[in-house]
Point group: C2
């Protein structure tokens, strides 16, 4: 796509750059301090979960269907929390484990398990010459960090409007048995906000893999995080995989970190019976039981999916105007410029923003100069390397609307100046 700056004559472009530079100088002089980098809810939004802190008190019944939540035991999690986990993940409650606050932490433990011990009957991944993981891009940097930390090679695969490029995924996994797995955030994917289509889910669950020990890390982090009543619908991958005889392929994760208190919720893991038993043997070596009192508080605070959805509707009240403001500011500021494209998700925590090739790092740096912190350019790619240098993750949830508006104005300004400069450099 050609930008308005590329279409300008030389003098017009020089004048545009001078005007934009003057604007940048003016904004820089203000010494602002704004943050659009963090995928976390605002303090006001978090406060809606405060009643959770009243659920348990010194006089509360601390038993959950025969399990004493105040003492050791029950590694797999308490019954009522496992039912909640089952509803979340779309697997039977008996195929779930409820652990501490971090699903990322469970993912790390599970990947270390396969790395050290492997799938029964196959070589542990650490003993193989090469182990690779598919990483949909733009994607979640902390996922890519898990595999990178173990020395697993991260292979980027492009996201499309219906999920990862499945032709490419199928081609890769069919021919390369060193590809042992893939990360997926199937609903409101981080950062695109895209939800995988039914066809994508079906193809992931049924595709032929050269590696019999291929595993999908299905991080359903935003499964109930709709902005409106008309949220995206995600096909249940467990059901499809089970029908295809591939139920061991899918490792499902979720947590309540963006439902109740970030970092202080409960996390869920679900998979086939065989996987649960196998992985639990390693997890249990290092854990007698997780915090069952927190599980109990959560299960009582969110006793049904209806209660959960009602709670999520309160979250959406805070998120909707922020996401709307992103669309408004970008459309008004950049809509006619050809400088950028961006996603318009129905839920989740992010908007993915793509500008001209070679622009993202410069835009992020220029924003920082003007007092706006963004997620580092490249963060959405394995090893922090976005080959075209186009992608920026916008995290609109934490700032106030006023701060967000100011930050977006600055992003617009930075994008315009960098694109104008690129157009000028092209000619030089």
């Amino acid at each position: 796509m050609e930008t308005i700056y590329q279409r300008m004559g030389a003098e017009e472009l020089a004048a545009a750059i001078a005007a934009l530079e003057a604007e940048v100088a003016e904004v820089t002089a203000k010494g602002l301090k704004l943050d659009m980098a963090r995928g976390k809810p605002s303090p006001e939004q978090v406060a809606i979960s405060r009643p959770l802190l009243d659920v348990l008190s010194s006089s509360a019944d601390l038993m959950d269907e025969g399990v004493d939540c105040s003492n050791y035991g029950c590694f797999e999690g308490i019954p009522s929390a496992r039912r909640l986990a089952g509803s979340f993940l779309g697997v039977p409650a008996g195929q779930t484990i409820v652990l501490g606050s971090s699903s990322l932490n469970i993912m790390q433990s599970v990947l270390v398990h396969y790395w050290e011990k492997g799938v029964p009957g196959y070589t542990p991944w650490r003993k193989l010459e090469s182990v690779k993981f598919l990483c949909p891009v733009p994607g979640y940097d902390r996922h890519f960090g898990l595999t990178q930390d173990l020395g697993i090679e991260n292979i980027p695969v492009r996201m499309t409007p219906t999920g990862p490029d499945m032709d490419e995924v199928e081609r890769l996994v069919a021919e390369d048995s060193s590809i042992k797995g893939m990360f997926c955030v199937p609903k409101y994917s981080n950062p695109t906000g895209i939800t995988y289509s039914d066809e994508t889910v079906r193809r992931l669950a049924t595709m032929k893999c050269a590696a019999p020990d291929f595993r999908i890390v299905w991080d359903n982090a935003y499964c109930v995080h709709d902005l409106t009543d008309h949220g995206d619908k995600l096909l249940n991958i467990h059901d499809v995989a089970l029908e295809a005889g591939n139920e061991d392929r899918v490792l499902e994760f979720a947590s309540t970190s963006k439902i109740t208190f970030p970092g202080a919720g409960v996390a869920f893991f679900g998979s086939s019976f065989a996987n649960m038993a196998e992985v639990s043997r390693t997890l249990q070596v290092g854990l007698i039981s997780a915090n069952k009192l927190n599980q109990l508080a959560h299960a009582r605070f969110l006793p049904t999916m209806d209660a959960l959805h009602a709670h999520m509707a309160k979250h959406a009240e805070f998120l909707r105007p922020r996401f709307a403001l992103v669309q408004e500011k970008l459309r008004d500021g950049l809509g006619e410029t050809g400088c950028a494209t961006w996603t318009n998700p129905n839920g989740g925590y992010f908007v993915s923003f793509d500008s001209q090739p070679g622009s993202a790092k410069r835009i992020v740096a220029l924003c920082l100069q003007m007092g706006v912190k963004l997620t580092p350019a490249g963060a959405t790619w394995p090893y922090g390397i976005d080959p075209e240098d186009t992608n920026i993750r916008i995290a609109p949830t934490y700032p106030s609307l006023e701060e967000l508006g100011a930050a977006l104005d600055i992003l617009v300004l930075a994008t315009k100046l960098v694109c104008a400069q690129l157009a000028s450099e092209e000619r030089a």
Copy 2:
């Protein structure tokens, strides 16, 4: 030591066995169901921590010295909880990390870190032909399980009344560079209840190790768990190691699991600055932040070491009569028989019981027949193999006094019958 049964004449011994067998038959017929296997507090004891559940409520201030405990961030733990951790571990607060509920879980992560990446400048342990760990015996089975799970070889070292046999420890670590570490429960050791002498602590902190990347897992699980006001005193190993230039050697752990709620407390890790930074790099790959709300509740519930000791004094009220009953029942039942010896600790959760060689498994099995569940014989040794088959871990904390008395009577009876049978078999 000769038992009374070994000193008996043949007829006297046969009569004694017949009488004991009759007693066993009588008890077996009662169909009791008693449990002396679990190192956990009784429900009544746990209940003293219930006021902790009132500390945070929907109207509480959720800030801790500038840290918002209700949102992401602050991987290392909140300031007030780190101060508590520092007091616990005897290291500066800035050299601690406060994480989720399980110190065992942190130990596993730290060992996996050294296994995968090693100490900077040295070969990762997984790449070495042989890696060994010293395991004081009798000791804690879950420690031994951590290393066993990674394929590290566990080498038993005898406990003495002043801690591990230091002559043996020094000899082994000086000559074998594949010995990369050692487990220690330095105060009220599990299961002996022994506290390491000052000399033992000094020798551990200063001994010459062939492996420059030797690490001590210093699990101070029972550091404040005194039965009386005159508890054992443990020398601060961090100070001694620091002075000797060995501060990187010691990895200190503790948790509040036996202070507040088992499995729902907070866990502490402390070491040198270099170790903390190094290990944190791996831990942070899989954890944004731990449950800071639980940290906040704990820091407010136990704001000072005085408050903590007052709380521990309440715990001791429950434990003291149970530990006294163990001594009374064993002394009255076995004191004159020569059949067994046992420890008499000033704190902790266990009593270590040693009977005749070749007797422990039979005693445990016979107790089970009479309705008393004990920790499996052998559990206190690596791989579950007690070479002399003498050691049984007594866990007196969970049952009521009445149940505990009945269980101890049965242990006495089983010990006597098995020792009488052994005396008879010796002659055959």
